[in-house]
């Protein structure tokens, strides 16, 4: 057997970081828990470095056939770790001095670890284990501050996760029943000859769990409520990081384990994609709460991402476009959330009136990120969209591309609703000034994310080649 730990250094570092963080946290005075923050950051950076080294090696399979380290895994590692770092940056002002601050960061790391494991899993059981690991810290984070809304968010998040987790296990069992194994490598051959009805049910059931992670229709119900109810940093985390792992896992499962002649999953995913983007956009139209609006926009973004999955095997560009879009999306979405986190009192769109005058920097980031989410050049998401559309048309899903275009236009409506007031003069009668900024850490995060989003767009040419490569 091949139980090598070498290729898993990033995961191990992260895991170690969480353990060390928890232990040291429990001996630290309340005001000095920032040490844990440092440990977390250090762990993420170390893991990033390790990933950098790992990315140079050829794709490998580890622990039997259960874990794969290839371009997808590495991209997800980088994205997740970077995103986690940003979220840490966003949450500093929110959790500093909180009695459970150490635990907060520990949970972040564990969730990140689970997300990475999702992407690397090449075995249904490992996939489910990763699912648990990625979900559970999320529930706790959602309810971290234990206020009324936060706990409600945690409750809904948890119950949805539990149900869909059960569905996922059911699917795993069914696939095992007809495929005689839970390893993708075996399933790929076994499912070809299996009774496709069972295979279809099993795949859909497993998808249920992964869609929950990705926050896509019809497993998206938790997204708006959790985003709205929990604290902004956590909202940023749960709408960004699990998506990455979920979609990567989706990609690997469908492309590696499920032959298209057993289940017509491209069509299935295409339908899910169309549903996600449409529903998300429509629901976002008349939102006045910025967090709910962002939540729905993330649902619609899942749609665009799923497009790439749908054509992953039909177009050579599919996988690359998905990975790049994930990268760009993470940066852009976190940027938007960072601005929201920097302005805690501004809850509704109207509160952003005049932001361009009072905080031009934040306004600029907001413009970049929101227009980025629309897909306006030269942001990263534009490049991602370009790649995804190209892949989709190339993969023969012209109608899906058309739907996506229509949705892009639709999405513009509500993003503009947000951007519009930015450039108006503030009402003089506004007694309670909503545009009070917090400590400034989120602002730093916002600038970083905005810059990253732009850089990805302009220097995308340098990044894209790194995302080429076969899934093994």
């Amino acid at each position: 057997m091949n139980e090598r730990l070498g290729p898993l250094v990033p995961e191990i570092v992260l895991a170690a970081g969480s353990v060390v963080g928890l232990l040291s946290g429990s001996w630290l005075p309340r005001r000095r828990q920032w040490v844990v923050r440092l440990i977390t950051a250090a762990a993420c950076l170390a893991a990033l470095a390790a990933t950098g080294i790992a990315a140079a090696q050829a794709p490998t399979v580890d622990f039997g056939t259960s874990y794969v380290i290839d371009v997808a895994t590495n991209t997800v590692r980088v994205t997740v770790l970077a995103a986690t770092l940003l979220v840490v940056c966003l949450s500093i002002d929110a959790v500093a001095g909180h009695p459970r601050e150490s635990e907060f960061y520990v949970l972040l790391q564990l969730a990140a670890l689970g997300t990475i494991a999702l992407a690397g899993a090449n075995d249904l059981l490992l996939l489910f284990a990763a699912y648990l690991l990625a979900s559970i810290p999320g529930y706790a984070l959602a309810g971290f501050f234990k206020d009324a809304l936060g706990t409600e968010a945690a409750l809904k998040y948890y119950l949805m996760g539990a149900l869909l987790g059960v569905a996922m296990l059911t699917g795993i069992t069914l696939l095992y029943g007809v495929g005689r194994s839970t390893s993708y490598t075996v399933l790929r051959t076994a499912l070809a000859s299996a009774p496709h009805g069972v295979a279809a049910v099993g795949v859909v059931a497993v998808l249920a769990g992964l869609l929950f992670k990705a926050g896509g229709v019809p497993a998206h119900f938790w997204v708006p409520d959790v985003t709205d109810g929990t604290s902004t940093p956590v909202a940023a985390f749960v709408t960004t990081v699990p998506k990455i792992g979920g979609l990567a896992a989706l990609l690997r499962l469908l492309t590696d384990a499920v032959p298209t002649n057993a289940v017509n999953w491209p069509l299935l995913v295409a339908i899910l994609a169309a549903a996600s983007m449409t529903l998300g956009n429509l629901a976002a139209f008349f939102q006045t709460s910025v967090k709910r609006l962002l939540a729905y926009s993330t649902v619609s973004q899942v749609g665009y991402l799923l497009m790439a999955v749908a054509v992953a095997t039909r177009s050579g560009l599919g996988i690359t476009s998905l990975l790049f879009y994930l990268l760009a999306y993470a940066a852009t979405n976190l940027g938007a959330f960072a601005v929201v986190a920097e302005l805690p009192q501004a809850r509704s769109l109207s509160d952003y009136r005049g932001l361009a005058r009072t905080h031009p920097g934040l306004a600029a980031v907001l413009v970049v990120c929101l227009l980025g989410l629309v897909g306006t050049p030269p942001t990263g998401v534009f490049l991602g969209k370009l790649e995804v559309f190209t892949a989709t048309i190339d993969g023969g899903y012209g109608w899906l591309a058309a739907v996506a275009v229509a949705n892009t236009v639709a999405s513009l409506f509500y993003y503009l609703r947000w951007l519009g007031p930015l450039f108006l003069s503030q009402q003089t009668d506004s007694a309670a000034e909503p545009l009070q900024t917090t400590g400034g850490w989120p602002a730093i995060g916002a600038y970083t994310a905005g810059a990253a989003s732009l850089t990805l767009g302009i220097a995308g040419g340098a990044v894209l080649p790194l995302l080429h490569g076969p899934l093994s």
Partner: protein
């Protein structure tokens, strides 16, 4: 006594669990429903192992994973319930519906 019978039984348990999860108001009862569904899954996994793929160990591992999952879900469930009970003194999902639309 055959695969079909076992599967039918697990399907039954699963469906009852679905009913419970959907129909109950109390968080704990919903959790029971979920547990019941998992119960069905356990049975299914065992049956598949015995009748289809005794050669592959995955069937057994599934059962182990299910058991762990049950424990974890249960613990989380209690924790969340405690939290929300403290925060707003409810243990009914219907009463936790401030976040909507």
């Amino acid at each position: 006594m055959s695969l079909q019978l076992f599967l039918l039984l697990s399907a039954g348990l699963f469906s009852i669990g679905v009913y419970g999860a959907l129909s109950q108001q109390s968080i704990v009862m919903i959790m029971m429903g979920l547990e019941l569904m998992l119960n069905g899954v356990t049975l299914g996994a065992g049956a598949f192992w015995h009748y289809v793929a005794p050669g592959s160990s995955s069937g057994q591992v599934i059962v182990v994973v299910v058991v762990v999952a049950m424990a974890v879900e249960m613990a989380m469930g209690f924790a969340v319930t405690t939290a929300i009970f403290r925060a707003r003194d409810v243990d009914m999902v219907d009463m936790a519906a401030d976040l909507s639309r």
